[in-house]
């Protein structure tokens, strides 16, 4: 039973990271129709930058916030490179993001080496229904929920958030009322950077990150986003958590890490199940 709770909570925590990464996919895709494959890379940036800042004796809190904001700026720059040229088709932008993530992997090796790095988290453990759970994992869940609430308030309530939604829903009309749709696209990449960076900063203390973490993180996030139909942020959260929990249970009871395989299987299942409804929607 204790094992089960441990797997469950760590699954939810990893799932939250997937959900944050996945919501980055969703935000960028809604506004620009681009699938941004630097999403996992941005999480790695977050984790690695935080580790360096903490080593540089920046206090907890400040270091993490600076790392998250840096990931946001990097996301913005990636967005500028991938979609900056007017009229770039989404598929080309996707390829550019793939290229950027490959380049970033080389950059990670150059600056942080090949070994996985795990910055210190808040440390300590907490009793959850009799199981000892690292407090960091609980922090991940709390921060993620707050992040999702802020994100949906931003989109539903703030004027800029509504501008982003407008640019996504009808770019032509958005341009006519004076919204700079391209800048809204860049902004969405920046938000995706913050979300990815947050995921990396939160997860790295319990799951070390390296240059090779980008792909599994991106895949997990993408599967969560597909669960949300690439449009719904809250369903992405649900998808991330389901994926994380299933992955941890499989890893725990079958001993061995199959997180990526589970993500791929889940994506496959969703795509097959949703294929009908998706093609029906397109036929409309």
């Amino acid at each position: 039973m204790n094992d089960f709770i441990t797997y469950l909570v760590s699954g939810v925590a990893i799932g939250c990271a997937f959900a944050l990464i996945g919501s980055g996919f969703v935000v960028v895709h809604r506004v620009t129709r681009v699938v941004n494959f630097t999403q996992g890379t941005l999480a790695v940036f977050g984790g690695l930058i935080a580790s360096t800042l903490l080593k540089g004796a920046l206090p907890h809190g400040i270091a993490e916030i600076v790392a998250v904001l840096s990931a946001g700026v990097i996301g913005l720059i990636f967005g500028f490179i991938a979609t900056g040229k007017r009229g770039t088709p989404p598929l080309i932008s996707l390829l550019i993001t793939l290229g950027l993530s490959t380049l970033s992997a080389a950059f990670f090796i150059l600056f942080w080496g090949q070994n996985p790095i795990s910055p210190p988290g808040i440390g300590g453990a907490t009793d959850v229904l009799g199981a000892r759970i690292e407090t960091q994992r609980l922090l991940v869940v709390v921060v993620t929920v707050i992040a999702f609430v802020v994100l949906s308030l931003f989109f539903d309530r703030s004027y800029v958030g509504k501008g982003l939604t407008a640019a996504a829903s009808n770019p032509r009309a958005a341009r006519l009322v004076g919204i700079n749709v391209r800048w809204m696209g860049f902004l969405s990449f920046g938000i995706a950077g913050v979300l990815g960076g947050l995921a990396g900063v939160l997860i790295a203390p319990t799951n070390a990150v390296s240059f090779a973490s980008d792909l599994p993180l991106a895949l997990g996030g993408f599967a969560a986003a597909v669960f949300g139909g690439l449009v719904s942020v809250w369903r992405t959260l649900l998808g991330g958590i389901v994926l994380g929990v299933v992955g941890q249970l499989v890893a725990g009871y079958l001993s061995g890490s199959y997180q990526t395989e589970v993500a791929l299987l889940m994506m496959l299942a969703i795509m097959i199940v949703r294929y009908k409804s998706l093609s029906a929607e397109e036929a409309k």
Binding site: K162, T165, N170, A173, L176, V177
Partner: protein
């Protein structure tokens, strides 16, 4: 207020507008008519700055806003959000004056724009444009797909806007009879060129125009050019 000089608009190698010059003075209500594909939308989009001009010049010394062809709602957003987004570039985002002018919108303000009827959407499109407090209002198709009664209502609003608020209006309208009734002056665009212009009353007597657009019956039921 608005002066176009020899404006050319191209999409790739296709020429949509081929050397158009026209002008609109402050306080005027001017019609721009012509068959499908003549280049009317291209022209107002260039005036709005969302379509580039290949050559020639557009001089506009006023704040403008456009009611776009096909209404172009932010479909999943409420009527009120649609209106407020119309004021993207200004600080005053209070929709109250619009509700005063178009009371139906107040009733519908929480409804998603995509679920409204065509006429209601057109009202939202007009309201959204007015949120920018335009001195020049560009309207791309007022009557398309709307019931005559709805069109008459909208036309009243435009006339009021023009007379009481002094808003200058450039109106694209397929129903020439309506366009000529509302606007004192008109330009006729065909295949990217201005082929006639002047007082609406005089243009309505032009035999060529009557055959092409009015079915020979001035002020009578207008007929679409492509239907004749």
């Amino acid at each position: 207020m608005l002066t176009l000089n020899d404006v050319v608009i191209r999409y790739g190698s296709a020429v949509a507008v081929d050397g158009v010059s026209l002008s609109v003075e402050r306080g005027e209500m001017v019609a721009l008519v012509g068959p499908n594909g003549a280049g009317k939308s291209s022209l107002v989009n260039a005036i709005s700055g969302v379509v580039p001009v290949a050559s020639g010049s557009i001089r506009l010394d006023a704040r403008s806003a456009q009611v776009p062809e096909g209404r172009q709602m932010f479909a999943d957003m409420s009527v009120e959000d649609n209106l407020r987004l119309g004021a993207w570039k200004s600080k005053d985002r209070d929709p109250a004056p619009i509700y005063e002018m178009l009371p139906d919108l107040q009733r519908l303000r929480r409804q998603k724009a995509g679920t409204l009827s065509g006429g209601q959407q057109q009202m939202v499109a007009v309201g959204r444009a007015l949120m920018a407090k335009p001195e020049l209002l560009l309207i791309d198709e007022l009557s398309l797909g709307l019931a005559p009664l709805v069109v008459a209502g909208l036309a009243d609003h435009l006339q009021k806007l023009n007379r009481e608020h002094g808003t200058t209006i450039l109106l694209i309208e397929q129903e020439i009879a309506l366009a000529f009734r509302l606007c004192e002056r008109a330009y006729v665009l065909e295949a990217g060129r201005i082929v006639a212009s002047g007082e609406s009353a005089e243009l309505a007597l032009d035999p060529a125009l009557r055959d092409a657009y009015l079915g020979g019956e001035v002020g009578g039921t207008p007929r679409r050019e492509d239907a004749s």
